[in-house]
Symmetry: C2
């Protein structure tokens, strides 16, 4: 097979978005109407959730459809509807993440708890507006988790396959929550330990980004071949690593407008990314002193971020992490022949994992 | 049928606790071990969740078993395991509620976010300890919601029945979240409107307490008779109302030690209970002036609470709400012959709803 760039993968994502977006809008609009029967407050919550959700890249939803197809699934509408389950879950996690990380911006919109802080002020709600905004996020994310289950259980698929997909969903969602607990604890501790950093990346991101949607899609198509499921899982994990590594790179080196949030926010929040881990291990004493000064410091300037970029290049942390990302791409690619013999699907799987490292947003 | 007191119902709850508690402990212990494979942090989170969860009254779990039995289910172990699903869900909601209401105490233990505030201090986590504690609650409740789904999907029951029960679970959980959003908004607004107060009680409490567990239990036993399901739903709603009304009464008039949290906390939090609603509508100008002074006031004294009790008695708000609770008991009782012809189950249904108004904790 000739080496491939990410263009086929990028196109697969675009096609998915074109087909999935109208379904997503239609579904959420129905749920907004149902919420309005209770009160205009939850309807407003869900409307604003949708504003943020519709701006997503929807990589996880697309992976559900791919997992479904490699397992022989043929009903495209089922695959697209199943994709919504993962997108609901994923967006709810991001919105919670913004509260925990005290982020103000998500996908170029104010973070949802900030939107509801303002909403509270306008309603002249008493007391602590930020607390009110955070409470509203707690309500909407609870609702979204359960709406995602409702969506899964409604799929026009054999009951046994729904239950198999649901077990996968539950299992990886629990691991994601534990990864998040570990992340906020180690971030707050301000220590970088390799073991924790790798566990966090794996559980709070790589697994649920790559493994969960592919395995859930395959389960919905009734896949039971253990060897094939193993290969899908290994490809998915490599995919998730490549995704997260590029996410960390874009968070430090990306174009602010394309990424949709201020570059350097991982730095301000003190996130234990692999870039930071490498620098802490391999940097010069001066470089590490600067790192200690800026990592987790909310008051750093744009110049500090630019200086950190230069240090990460000088210490070869940037190159080290980029190389690691491509190593995962190669690992993922090795699994492809074990997943499917369909040449077209093979090409999508290969190009899509390459695209994870090529993407600029 | 002779009129019944709550003793048979109380005994049914006690029997349920005796059988269910060891299963609950065993299940959570297994999940703590799984969490520990990721890190000791999530294991600690889950351990503390269990400390609070094991102190519950487990009314919802018991209702699952009752719903299962009235629908002809005969496998007691399945019913008991299904009860755990609701108890996981319910306890997670309470823990979130304590964050939103800024409560410090739950079931005589520090609220979980306060426990993790202290845990953060001991770890010498940086920054805002309360925010850290609240973030940990967000992680553990996410995990618990998904652990409850895992438990449901693992039940040894026909796949179609699991899906039917899951649809009920998802539907009512979403309504609970919307009820909560409405509650925190109207509480923060500091206005008492009858329509909102009734909607909040219904959605954030009565439905998920009574209707959800009974219908889920019946679905697991494969109940499809629409008339019977309707009767179960109506009984469940009346049950939920009676439960919530007595909860509000105990929150104002109960014995602090038995209730397990400071009496008057609803008052301090400015909760729109039916007691407050009646007083706002029927009280004298002086009584209403006092109400406006203390409702939602964090600094009220024990004497203020005692004075409010006297006012609620004088204005007949107390009697009005007690009467309303018993009216719901009667409404629920009317449904019983439509639910089951089994005399023993009829007696449990009748006595249990009576017990909801008789209980002192």
């Amino acid at each position: 097979m000739p080496l491939m760039d990410g263009s086929i993968g990028k196109q697969y994502l675009k096609d998915y978005l074109d087909k999935s977006d109208p379904l997503f809008e239609e579904h959420l609009q129905k749920k907004i109407d149902e919420a309005r029967e209770i009160s205009k407050i939850p309807a407003e919550l869900l409307k604003r959730f949708l504003d943020t959700a519709r701006r997503g890249k929807k990589i996880r939803g697309a992976l559900v459809t791919l997992g479904y197809k490699v397992a022989g699934g043929t009903d495209e509408m089922t695959a697209l509807q199943a994709g919504l389950v993962m997108e609901l879950f994923h967006t709810a996690l991001l919105i919670q993440d913004d509260v925990m990380d005290q982020d103000n911006l998500r996908r170029e919109l104010p973070a949802l708890h900030h939107q509801f802080k303002q909403f509270g002020k306008k309603l002249t709600v008493r007391g602590d507006f930020l607390h009110y905004g955070e409470s509203m996020v707690s309500c909407v994310t609870d609702a979204i988790f359960y709406l995602s289950w409702e969506k899964l259980l409604e799929l026009n698929v054999d009951s046994k396959n729904i239950i198999a997909a649901g077990k996968t969903y539950a299992q990886y969602a629990v691991r994601t929550a534990w990864g998040q607990a570990l992340d906020i604890t180690t971030t707050a501790l301000g220590e970088i330990k390799e073991k924790d950093a790798m566990a966090i990346l794996r559980y709070k991101s790589a697994e649920y980004t790559g493994v969960l949607p592919l395995l859930a899609g395959a389960a919905l198509a009734g896949e039971k071949d253990e060897k094939k499921l193993r290969a899908i899982k290994d490809y998915g994990l490599a995919f998730g690593w490549a995704f997260q590594i590029q996410d960390d790179i874009l968070g430090m080196f990306g174009d602010e407008e394309k990424v949709g949030k201020p570059v350097g926010s991982d730095l301000r929040e003190g996130k234990n990314t692999l870039l930071m881990l490498h620098l802490a291990q391999k940097g010069t004493p001066e470089q590490r002193a600067f790192q200690r000064k800026v990592l987790g410091n909310k008051n750093i300037t744009k110049d500090d971020v630019l200086k950190m970029r230069q240090i990460l290049r000088d210490a070869r942390s940037y190159q080290h992490v980029v190389d690691l990302g491509w190593k995962y791409v190669d690992e993922g690619k090795k699994q492809i022949p074990l997943i499917t013999a369909d040449k077209k699907l093979q090409a999508i799987l290969e190009s899509l994992i390459v695209y994870m490292m090529e993407r600029v947003k």
